[in-house]
Structure formats: C-alpha cells, structure tokens
C-alpha cells in the first residue's frame, strides 16, 4: 500500500522596519546609494560604544503582535547572539531569546478550501547585519549601511501543510505589515525575507520528521516553488529508503531546485546571554491600549466589511482591500455618491478595478496620482445612474476627466453628451420607427424577437445618438406588446 505523506511547514519571516533611524543608534535607514554612508561609531561596533533602543521598534512590533492576535509580554529583555562574520560589527547580534515581546498569536488565511488558522509562535526584535559583497572584487567588500537596521522576526507554528498555504500565509503577513505602515514588504528588495522549515511524515504519525531549512526565497513564486520541490524531494528520499538530513538548503532559482548550502561544519553555539547594555522593556496595560486603539482596520476585517456594507462580491472586496490606500479611496468615493446603494457601489468598484487600476499599472503610480479624485469618480457614477448619460458615453467622460478637476456634470455639459430621456419624445420616435418599418414589424410579430435590437438602434439613430438606450428599449418593448396598430 502506498504511504500518503503530509508536509509540515513553518515559516520564519524577517521584516525590516521602515523606521527613520536604526534600532540602536541615530543613523538613517534610507536606502543609500553609496556604501558606508549611514554609519556611526555605534553601528560600526567601535570600542566603547553602546546601544540605545529606538522607541518605534518597540511600538511597531507591539502593533504587529496585536494585529496577529499575539500575547504581548509585559516585561521582555534583549539577548546577545554571539558569532563571527565580516558584516556583523560587534561579533554578536542584539536579539531576543527566551522572552520575545510577542508570542502565542495566530492569523487566518483564506485558502481554496476555506479559512485556516496559522499559529504564530513568536515575534521578536533584533538588528540587521551589514552586507558582504563577494562578486565585485578579489576581496569581499563589506558595507555596513544596513548594520543595525531594525528587524522583527515572525515565526509561525508548523501549521502550514502545503506550498500554497505558505504562499497565502506570507501574502497575509505582508499585507498586515504594509497596512500597519511599518514595513515595505518587498521580498525582492529584501525588506521582507522568508526562510522555510520543511519536513514530511506519513499521515497519521504524530512525531515530526527531520526538517530542512530552505533559504533564499526571494519572490512569492519562489517560495511556493521551493517548498513544492523540497516536499517532493523529501518524499522521494524517504520512499527510496534514505533519510532526510537536517541541513540548510538554498533555493537555486536558475536550476529550480534546492541544494545544500556550502557551509563550515561548525555547529553554531550562539551562547545567548542577557544583553547587559540594554535595560528591560515594560509594556504596561495603558501603553498597550494606546497602541491597540491606534491600529488601523486590517485587511481581513475590511474585506468582510466591504462585502457586508457595500454588497460587493468577495472578489471585488479582495481586490479593493489589497492596498489600504485603494480601499480608503474607494470608501471616499462611495461617500460622495448622490445615489447610494449596492448598484452604485458596484459601479465605483468596477471603475477602479478596470480603468483606474489600468492607469496605476501603466504609469506605475499610486491611486492618489492616477489623475482623478474620489469625488470625480462618484460624480461620474451618478450621471450614469440617474440616466443623464449612457454607459457608453461614460468612458468618454472618464477619459476627459483625467488630469482635470472637472466634475462629470460639467464635462457632460461641455461635451454635449446628455442623453435624451424625454419619454414623450422617445415614444414619438418609437412610433415613427415602427410605422416606418412594417415588414420588420411583421417579422417580429412572427417570432423574430431579435429584431428588438434593430428597432432600438433605429430610434437611437433618429435621435442623433442621444437617446437613452435603456429607456428606448423599455418603451419599445411596451409598444411591441400592444395589439396590432
């Protein structure tokens, strides 16, 4: 009988916080073009220097903890993680060990099979190392701009079971970080980093198999692919009678495979001990409350509210809330509508998801720089909803609106796009068309119902294109139901 295996996956995510200054000194964290410009004696690890904790590192990690349902440890401390590397100036990294400030949380991801909880073991504070560049010179070049930049490390429980779930979890964590405005969340640039711990076991077994750690997952696609590959590799190994080795692997994107990292066979004994140069951090109830009330509404909650409050389909809600700025813009636009109601809300959503986002993508701009305001879009939806113009004309108004501050009404006037909705006039035109097309009328009566479109088209033509098509259609239908004239 063939054994079925399940994969046990845990993700370790490092998020670089976009604070103005470093974790333990006042150096800037801006992405410097030139090497070794954001440095000072402290982050260079000069003798006699001491760390001083950045307030935002504490506040922002607590926010992340609150946003992921973690317990916030009232008193936490820092530890030194001791090892040697050319871009680790002090010969140790200031981190947290036994008492991370956030622990025991969880997030809910929306999988294809429904919602699933992924536990968060811990989130802790630490500092980033510098960068070693190996391929520019005969020597390794060391740049310490990044040394001391604040990081938070988010460790998930091994609750993830598939590569897809890992992808969704990572997307979710990223969204929260971006929503909280504490991290750029860019996997390619390195403000977000992800390592995966992967093991397999036969379904039904309760003990864990040997796990490997996979690093260098530098895009969402690669996260999914690498995990898929590694799961398959481990299953193949075990099926072949071999054992999984506990090693660290790199994802080789060019070869599309995981391979063992070349490393010294030194077991890492980090000799963690309490950092004597930093005092403890105490987050009391009132500080925690203050941070809690400063939390923005997060993605999942907002998505659900968009469905219930605006009657949007789940798909629309997901797209609109993916970016907090877009979501806020959407709500502002809806608030300016004269015609409130699900139809109008959906119309606003459609405009954003198609035309507005197309502009954002093409010009690489945010929604606030797309060329129109939430009020302007609302005015456009209004003139379509109230029949002033046809939806066909709406595209023209939209295009004319971009880059101006003009409302839809103003542009309808300017461009003469007002559609004819005078019922009396339209009735007259309907009668005229039916009278002038007796043969087609007979054919219609005989069963060719698709001639409705022809009759409507004739009315619009006679109106010079301005007849309200929907109104014409309903008058026409009425007229056609009359007994023979």
């Amino acid at each position: 009988m063939q054994t079925t295996y399940e994969a046990i996956i845990g993700l370790e995510v490092h998020a670089q916080l976009k604070t103005s200054s470093k974790a333990f000194c006042a150096c800037s964290t801006t992405y410097g073009a030139m090497p070794n410009v954001n440095v000072c004696p402290v982050c260079l690890g000069h003798p006699g220097t001491l760390p001083v904790l950045n307030r935002n590192l504490v506040e922002w990690i607590v926010k992340m903890g609150l946003a992921t349902n973690c317990h916030i440890r009232e008193r936490s401390s820092f530890s030194r993680k001791n090892y040697f590397y050319s871009d680790l100036p002090k010969g140790y990294q200031i981190s947290q060990f036994a008492d991370p400030i956030c622990y025991g949380g969880s997030v809910e991801i929306e999988t294809e099979e429904g919602p699933k909880h992924i536990g968060i073991t811990r989130i802790h504070m630490e500092e980033d190392s510098g960068k070693s560049i190996h391929d520019l010179d005969i020597d390794t070049l060391v740049d310490l701009n990044r040394a001391g930049v604040p990081l938070i490390e988010i460790v998930s429980e091994p609750d993830i079971r598939t590569a897809r779930e890992a992808y969704l979890y990572l997307q979710h964590i990223r969204q929260i970080l971006v929503y909280l405005d504490i991290c750029d969340g860019n996997l390619e640039e390195g403000s977000l980093r992800c390592d995966a711990n992967i093991s397999i076991r036969p379904v039904g077994q309760t003990t864990f198999g040997t796990k490997t750690e996979v690093k260098n997952l530098n895009s969402f696609r690669n996260v999914e692919k690498a995990i898929q590959f590694e799961i398959a590799r481990q299953i193949a190994l075990v099926e072949g009678g071999a054992a999984v080795q506990q090693v660290t692997m790199l994802w080789d994107a060019s070869r599309q495979e995981t391979r063992v990292m070349r490393s010294k066979e030194q077991a890492h004994d980090y000799r963690y001990f309490a950092e004597p140069d930093l005092v403890h951090v105490v987050v009391d109830e009132s500080w925690k409350q203050r941070l809690h009330s400063a939390l923005p509404e997060l993605g999942l909650a907002k998505r659900r509210r968009f469905v219930s409050q605006f009657g949007l389909p789940a798909y629309d809600a997901a797209v609109l809330t993916d970016d907090a700025e877009v979501a806020a813009w959407y709500e502002a636009s809806c608030a300016h509508l004269n015609a409130q109601g699900p139809e109008a809300y959906k119309a606003v959503s459609n405009w954003i998801m198609t035309d507005v986002m197309r502009i954002m993508g093409q010009n690489k701009v945010s929604i606030s720089n797309a060329g129109l305001s939430p009020e302007q879009l609302a005015s456009l939806v209004d003139v379509v909803q109230d029949g002033t113009i046809s939806s066909k004309s709406a595209k023209d108004v939209f295009a004319a609106m971009l880059g101006t501050t003009k409302t839809a009404s103003e542009l309808v006037q300017e461009l003469g796009l007002r559609q004819e909705s005078d019922e009396g006039l339209l009735r007259q035109l309907v009668e005229d068309v039916l009278r002038d097309n007796p043969d087609n009328l007979e054919k219609y009566r005989g069963g060719k119902s698709n001639l409705l479109g022809f009759f409507v088209g004739q009315v619009i033509k006679r109106s010079g294109g301005s007849a309200n098509p929907a109104l014409v259609t309903s008058i026409m239908k009425e007229a056609l139901e009359q007994p023979t004239m």
Partner: protein, 94 residues
C-alpha cells in the same frame, strides 16, 4: 577534568588558535581555573532569580529621529584594508 580536545573546541568558537605545546599548557591552566570557579556549585541558589542588571531601570528609549552620521572616509579611516567605499576582507575559502 577538561581535556585538550574540548579546549581546542572552545578556542575555535572564540576564533583563537594555539600551538600544540601552548594548547597543552593552556589545558592544564584552564583545568585549574575551572576547578577554582567550580566553588560556585557549592552555593545554594534554589529559588533565586538571576540578576542581570544592577538597577531596575526600564524603558530607556530614543525617539525615532535620524541624526547625522559620520563620513565614509572617517568610517574607513581605521580600516586595515579598504577602498574608497568599502571595508575589504579576504574571501572565505571553502
């Protein structure tokens, strides 16, 4: 009793290296030292909390404001090997 092999391991962790002769002398001295500090195991510390700081000051925080950094030239001024922009170290072999 601490042996040479263990002392060599610790040296490796600390990025120190001894000649074989020095390692022997060192192991002997080290053994003597470790015996001496072993007096700590005689102390009854049941239920005692470790002390990590002298004062119970908490929350010493710095506002998140960027200050001035030093110039690249100054940062590199003490470097044993460098170019205009970087510190230089030999590539790690193997």
């Amino acid at each position: 009793m601490i042996d040479k092999h263990e002392v060599a391991s610790i040296a490796s962790l600390a990025r120190l290296q001894f000649s074989d002769e020095d390692l022997t002398t060192f192991t002997h001295q080290f053994g003597r030292i470790v015996d001496y500090i072993g007096a700590i195991t005689q102390l009854d510390v049941a239920g005692v909390e470790p002390m990590t700081h002298v004062h119970d000051v908490v929350n010493v925080l710095r506002d998140d404001v960027a200050g001035t950094s030093i110039s690249t030239a100054e940062a590199l001024s003490n470097a044993p090997k460098k170019n205009d922009a970087f510190f230089k170290v030999p590539k790690v072999l193997g």
